[in-house]
Amino acid sequence: MSAVEIRGVSKSYDGTAVLSDFTLTVADTFITAILGPSGSGKTTLLRLIAGFDRPDAGMIMLGDLIVDDARTHVRPERRGIGYVPQDGALFPHLDAIRNISFGLDRGDRDRAGDLLDLVGLTGLGHRYPHELSGGQQQRVALARALAIRPKLVLLDEPFSSLDASLRVSMRRDIARVLAETQTPSIIVTHDQDEALSLANQVVILDEGHALAHGSPADLYRTPISAAAARYLGDANLLSAVVDAGVARCVLGGVQVGADMPSGPVTVLVRPEQLRVSTAPMQGSVPATIGNVDYYGHDSLAELTLDDGTMVTARLTDSAAMNSIAIRRGDRVHVQAVGEMVAWPQTIE
């Protein structure tokens, strides 16, 4: 069963279309991430699912219940959907425990304390929002949303206001809490790392359309289009001509699937599929090193091939230790390793 099904939904604000004829099915899995740049309609999508706004056209289903169509609009308080906005949006006049128990009935107030423990804020129940740090406010907001035992939790860029180190630990904690409470959830983000590491399913959103969806590994390894490939992770997209399972491009001949028909294609070479060496290798082409971004565990190097094409290669730290010079201006040899994904080029 699907958790949320959206069919042909359109929504515009002040005459500007944000979503147009949008269709998406979110499986009833653990965490779904919706990935897209700002302005791609992510927040609007969540607001429609939560019932804060009504779609101009189309249908929204939660489970097997229609909550929005031309005739129906189930009010937000009847949907049982938890919502965690970007900055938490805690009620500023209520302390943490009363924020959490806002949606609870009187007899159920003990639950608020349990939830406070669950999000790791034991003992801070009487702090007011302005006395809590950004991360703590987010935790309270999550506990508040979970208090009503929602069928689904929506999280709108929950980590964007936190600093990098806090972000990773919050990500883990939230994944743990969602798993412990067995709550399906949708999280929108513009951060690929977040989407890849947190979610079981990722939906890539672009200008009001779902570009691709699938598991993080599938989306990374076998994206359905060049646009989707560029979206997730670093990608070298090169023009090539296929003949009998081998694509000829500026990197020489690279392996593509045997079932790839002959003709012009766009081939995807991930940076880690490039091997760099100071000595020539079989089928390698010469290149010059440009900018190098050093990340500790590995580095990303820009390489300029002799015909002027730029590609990005990932150099693991061990490779760097094997005395490969990774200084700007050095001459190296590049070789594409393994089988690549390619898409036939459409003739226009």
């Binding site: 604000y13 002040d14 005459g15 500007t16 944000v18 700002s38 302005g39 309609g41 992510k42 927040t43 609007t44 607001r47 939560a50 019932g51 804060f52 706004d53 009010r75 937000p76 308080e77 009847r78 949907r79 049982g80 959907i81 938890g82 919502y83 906005p85 970007q86 900055d87 949006a89 009620f91 500023p92 006049h93 806002f102 949606g103 007011y128 929002p129 302005h130 508040r144 949303a145 208090a147 009503i148 206001s161």
Partner: protein, 540 residues
């Protein structure tokens, strides 16, 4: 937030249409309220037209009118300058210095707004009968209007990012240079806004000027009103024009001076500087200011009460009745003003569009209408179109509500910002219906602002004289009208108790207001969370 796509439909109309679906009724309610508030402006025009062009010409283009204009401008320059210096200095002391008993000072410094201008004028004048003319008027008005600059400047100083000052110091600027080049630009919008309110107060002042024999358009209108109503209406025209001029000035300069906060994430409060050896002189200066603004009037009133024979003092019952009438009308006026301000505030804050801004801004126009003009227009209206209303308390309450509406709106707007619709959305998603969300989220958040609006209007209405004199039904005496009647006959002793009750009535809401403006509790969280434009509205 407003889309910049060009279409054939004019922007305000397009905006209105787009919003009709969601809470569009609020816009229509607001339009009705705004039209009601603006009706005095129309009525003044009608009234003046009835007086005829020749009459207008005769009244306006005599040498006397020129004298009145010069008086008004001179006084405005002197008072605004002095009040700006006093208000800013006081705000600097309470916000940026570690003042002993700081909370107390924040209340004391606002207290002069509880002393009606006409009482202050009377007090000074009764000490020395030669206390008259421009400088007398300037002294009285400076002491009673500096809080109008102190309050917004103090708020701006609190909001201003101290980090910017530190950066300026690190770039080699001295303390004085930092103040002039960095701090002043940050408080400039508040300073300008406050100054314009001071000018509008000066334009509409009657009682204090009458006492110190200083003529302005308002005193002249009042004198004419008793003999020749048409001339009074004709004189209202330049007064209204001056007010409108000031208001347009505000929107022009105000826009240029707008300061945005660049980094909202790391906002923090400025550390208050220890005064050290300067403590004693600063405290002495602040004490002197409050002694002049509050001590002199109260002291004089008590002196006159003690001096006079027991028999000339009014009976407690008469004072009681006048007190009740004052509280009754002022409270009603305040409730009506706040109730009318709420829909306009919600309309203006929840979504921005040209149409919504226009409606909201138009309601501020009443600020340019002096009390006497609004009162005259209501008299004109009731006599011509609704005679049964003439000489009823309804008109007085309406006048208070119209006159002080902008004050109510300012307070209510601030609090509506603190209750963004997103919080209501969250409440709904937690399973609560709209009514429960209003009671448990929206109301607690806006209640302090509503109360502040009520206090401000109540306080201003209690100390209001001109409209009350014109509109109070025959036989109804308020504290202000009683005081005025006695002091006109130079019965200082008999007048004093009424003035003291006014000050006592106004002091409590005045003190509450001082504390409200000084609040830090969740306003900081709110400004941090909701000043980000993206947070205010769904992605558009």
């Amino acid at each position: 937030m407003t889309s910049s796509t060009a279409t054939a439909t004019p922007a305000p109309l397009r905006a209105l249409r787009a919003r009709r679906g969601r809470a569009g009724w609020l816009v229509y309610v607001s339009i009705v309220i705004a039209l009601g508030l603006l009706s005095p402006l129309v009525l003044v025009g009608l009234d003046a037209r009835q007086a005829g062009w020749t009459e207008i010409h005769r009244v306006l283009f005599r040498a006397r009118s020129q004298r009145l204009l010069v008086n008004t401008v001179e006084l405005s320059v002197v008072v605004v300058t002095a009040a700006a210096v006093l208000g800013t200095a006081a705000a600097w002391c309470t916000e940026r210095c570690a003042l002993p008993l700081r909370r107390l000072w924040t209340v004391l410094l606002v207290l002069p707004i509880a002393v009606p201008d006409f009482v202050a004028g009377y007090a000074w004048h009764s000490i020395r009968p030669t206390f008259t003319g421009l400088w007398a008027a300037a002294l009285v008005m400076t002491l009673s209007t500096y809080p109008l600059i102190y309050l917004p400047v103090a708020a701006a100083l609190r909001r201003a990012d101290p980090g910017v000052d530190e950066v300026a110091r690190s770039l080699g600027l001295g303390r004085a240079a930092t103040f002039m080049r960095v701090t002043v630009p940050q408080i400039r919008p508040a300073l300008i806004g406050g100054s314009l309110v001071v000018i509008l107060t000066l334009l509409s002042e009657y009682g204090a000027f009458e006492i110190v024999h200083f003529q302005t358009f308002t005193t002249e209108i009042f004198t004419e009103f008793q003999f020749d109503q048409a001339a009074a209406s004709a004189l209202s025209v330049p007064l209204v024009l001056l007010g409108l001029l000031v208001l347009t000035g505000e929107s022009r300069i105000g826009r240029r001076g707008r300061v945005s906060r660049t980094a909202s994430a790391a906002a923090r409060l400025a550390r208050r500087r220890r005064l050290g050896y300067a403590t004693a002189p600063v405290l002495a200066a602040l004490s002197a200011l409050i002694a002049l603004a509050v001590g002199v009037p109260i002291g004089t009133l008590i002196y006159w009460m003690q001096r006079s024979e027991r028999s000339t003092l009014p009976a407690a019952a008469t004072v009681g009745k006048a007190t009740w009438a004052t509280v009754d009308y002022s409270a009603l006026g305040a409730v009506v003003a706040v109730a009318l301000a709420l829909p306009i505030a919600i309309m203006a804050v929840r979504r921005t569009s040209t149409a919504r801004r226009l409606i909201e801004r138009s309601t501020y126009l009443t600020q340019s209408l002096p009390g006497v003009v609004i009162a005259l227009s209501l008299v004109f209206f009731s006599i011509r179109y609704a005679y049964p209303l003439y000489q009823t308390s309804l008109l007085l309450v309406a006048a208070y509500a119209i006159l002080h509406f902008p004050l109510a709106l300012v307070c209510v707007k601030v609090s509506v910002v603190q209750a963004p619709p997103r919080l209501g959305d969250i409440g709904r998603s937690l399973g609560r219906g709209p009514a429960a969300v209003f009671a448990r989220v929206t109301l607690p958040l806006i209640a302090p602002g509503l109360l502040a609006g009520f206090c401000l209007v109540f306080l201003t209405a209690t100390t209001e004289l001109t409209a009350t004199l014109v509109l109070a039904p025959t036989g109804v005496h308020t504290l202000a009208t009683q005081f005025w009647a006695y002091q006109s006959e130079a019965a200082y002793g008999a007048a004093a108790p009424y003035a003291l009750v006014i000050i006592a009535l106004a002091a409590l809401p005045g003190a509450l207001l001082g504390l409200w403006f000084d609040r830090e509790r969740y306003s900081r969280l709110a400004t941090e969370q909701y000043s980000r434009p993206a947070a205010l509205e769904p992605a558009t």
